[in-house]
Amino acid sequence: MTVLVVSTLLVLAGCATDEPTTGASGSPSAGTGSGKGSGTGKQSKFFVRADYDKQLALLDTAPTGPAGKPWEQALNPAMVKTAKFRKPGPHKLCFSNAGLNNPWRQVGFKTMQAEVDTHRDRISGFVHVDAEGKDQKQIADINDLLGKGCDALIVSPNTTATLTPAVEAACRKGLPVIVFDRGVDTTCPVTFINPIGGYGFGHVAAEFVTRKMKPGGKVLALRILPGVDVLETRWSAAKVAFDKAGVDVVGVEFTDGDPARTKKIVNDYIQRYGTIDGVWMDAGAVAGAAVEAFEDAGKPVPPINGEDQLDFLKLWKDKKLTAIAPTYPTYQWRTPIIAALKILDGEQVPNPWKLPQPTITQDNLDEYVDPTMPPLHYAMCGCTDLPGYPKRWQ
């Protein structure tokens, strides 16, 4: 029923995230101008100006670390000592996963498993528990894992605020805790790994659409679901950009990640406004459907953004779209394993560990289009050098 659906979508939406929404990086602020007339509505109370500025700055920062291995690189790293965690191997790593039921997390987890395989000599066991996108289950899971004699605990939280207590409890156990993807409202984990984040994503896309579109054009913003921190930050950044440029956002609609629904919405908006000059999306899931809607309506496809999923990239290449694909790279799933091993060796690691967040543009599009990979595969997986590629991901 609808409920099941929504929950699936949640995880689907959970495909990316950003800084903790409160606490550590300062409490929420009202954000920027109310955006009168731009039709973008009121700013999300999750918008945190400080984080927003930080992320935009990071977009132009040069990463440090081995070239060509973005998953080992870091942006302005601040190293932390980990000597107290030094331990002789082999190690047992435990991973509490927010969920698996969406392509992004599937690709990511396969990448993580492959990464583990490359260290088989040093990793004696890898325990994975899937919280199925349920906060309360993940809290129970973490508590459960604490009884399994793990040497290090990796957590990909389902929700920032609500998982904090459980993570703190884990920290108190004294084993190294590594958090990635979403954060938690506490500094107790040894490191928090994730790419630049949602503000960056939303901003890049909005900025591109604004620039390529005819001045004063009409923009349709398509979102997956309301109320998911991840997607809220992407949207709130886009909102800032649109408000600043005074873009006319004619609609902000929710697609539930359903292509059919998406096509219907786009269809109705084309009919209502005669033409739509730009499409902004908070996730790539239904980009293909949006493009189709324009084709079926016999209209030129306006500037649009997607994500690094191959179906969109192919479409983009074949139809020669004016498009951009900000990414929230799945290669970040490799980093926690690497970090864990470093920590257990007592090596220093960056905290926070900010990974670069490349954007796919017309110029580098061809590098990422790979016709042999499935349509929902994420090009930015950084998995080509891992054992079992490409089979494991097909």
Binding site: V3, S7, D130, Q136, D141, N143, A161, A169
Partner: protein, 323 residues
């Protein structure tokens, strides 16, 4: 308990407990062979916590189902309750009780609306509660970008994480609520009237039962239980979460637990004892599969099969009783 006089209890629920025992036994065996431990302290605690959340909702669901109705809006009621609680507390222990009061008041109101739609407006419960669910969804989607509010620390430490030996406070709360519900069904006029309404509303009416009033009360009680579950989850999560209810699939899972417990979906037969068993069964399956790290999708398939199989068994038993 099941030895007591009242049909809801006398009428044999324990089928589900046999299934539970088997699940745990086989589960324990497999997990041990697999090199894990099913009954380690943390695992047990986790299991009971999962059961507590679902259990509170399911007990409420039992009350409406016994009355021949059902409530598909509980998931949203739960979410809303976490928010009301956490926002009202705003991290202040002083606001604890008023906040809980407010939460229960809000959820009771939702139950009242459900009840009136089903009785006064004569809308089929399925449609009525789904409709109310949509209304709540709209409110939540529109009003909340994500987790808000802060649960009172006292509540977090208490209800959220405190336990007696391996048994979390929350689970004791569940047992208390279940016992209360059992008592209400077995020993109060309302309980007797509710079962009668579930069995045959016309008969109840002709016997002088105020059917509407009874059904409305049942819906209020159900919503109250959902509200309580919301308070518990708020204590667990430390904040209000606008999606925790739908994420947890509390509407469908609660109904699943109810029917696993042997309560007839048509109403008039069943009770909370079985429901608690059903909840524990679902939680145990969770735990076992967790230990074995089995793919969750596979687990979903298994669940589907188990639910159907269980009800099929009850149906067979009922037929035998009839002939």
């Amino acid at each position: 308990m099941s030895g007591a006089l009242s049909p809801p209890a006398r009428w044999t629920p324990p089928g589900v407990f046999v299934a539970l025992a088997l699940t745990l036994a086989i589960g324990w065996l497999v997990v041990t062979v697999d090199g894990g431990r099913l009954f380690s302290l943390p695992t047990t605690v986790s299991l009971l916590h999962v059961a507590a959340g679902l259990g509170l909702v399911a007990v409420g669901q039992t009350v409406v189902v016994v009355g021949g109705s059902l409530d598909l809006s509980v998931a949203y009621t739960v979410s809303l309750s976490t928010l009301v609680a956490a926002e009202a507390m705003a991290g202040d222990d002083g606001a604890l009780l008023p906040a809980i009061g407010l939460t229960l008041a809000v959820s009771a109101t939702i139950g009242l609306v459900n009840g009136l739609l089903v009785t006064l407006a004569r809308i089929n419960p399925f449609i009525a509660t789904v409709g109310v669910g949509l209304l709540l969804k709209g409110y939540l989607d529109n009003g909340y970008d994500g987790p808000t509010g802060k649960t009172a620390p006292a509540l977090v430490q208490g209800l959220g994480y405190q336990r007696v030996g391996p048994v979390p406070l929350a689970f004791l709360l569940l047992l208390a609520v279940a016992a209360a519900a059992w008592f209400v069904l077995a020993r109060t006029r309302f309980g007797h009237h509710l079962i009668a309404v579930g069995g045959d509303p016309e008969v109840a009416r002709l016997s002088g039962v105020r059917t509407s009033r009874v059904l409305v009360t049942a819906h209020v009680l159900c919503a109250l239980c959902a509200g309580l579950a919301g308070v518990y989850l708020a204590s667990r999560l430390g904040a209000g979460a606008p999606r925790v209810g739908t994420e947890g699939l509390y509407d469908l899972e609660s109904i699943a637990a109810v029917v696993l417990g042997g309560t007839a979906l048509a109403g008039g037969r069943g009770g909370v004892v079985g429901t608690v068993g059903g909840v524990l069964l679902l939680a145990s399956i969770d735990a076992v599969f967790n230990q074995l790290e089995v793919d969750v999708f596979f687990k979903q398939v298994i669940r589907g099969v188990i639910i159907i199989a269980a009800v099929a068994v009850y149906a067979r038993r009922a037929m035998r009783k009839a002939s």
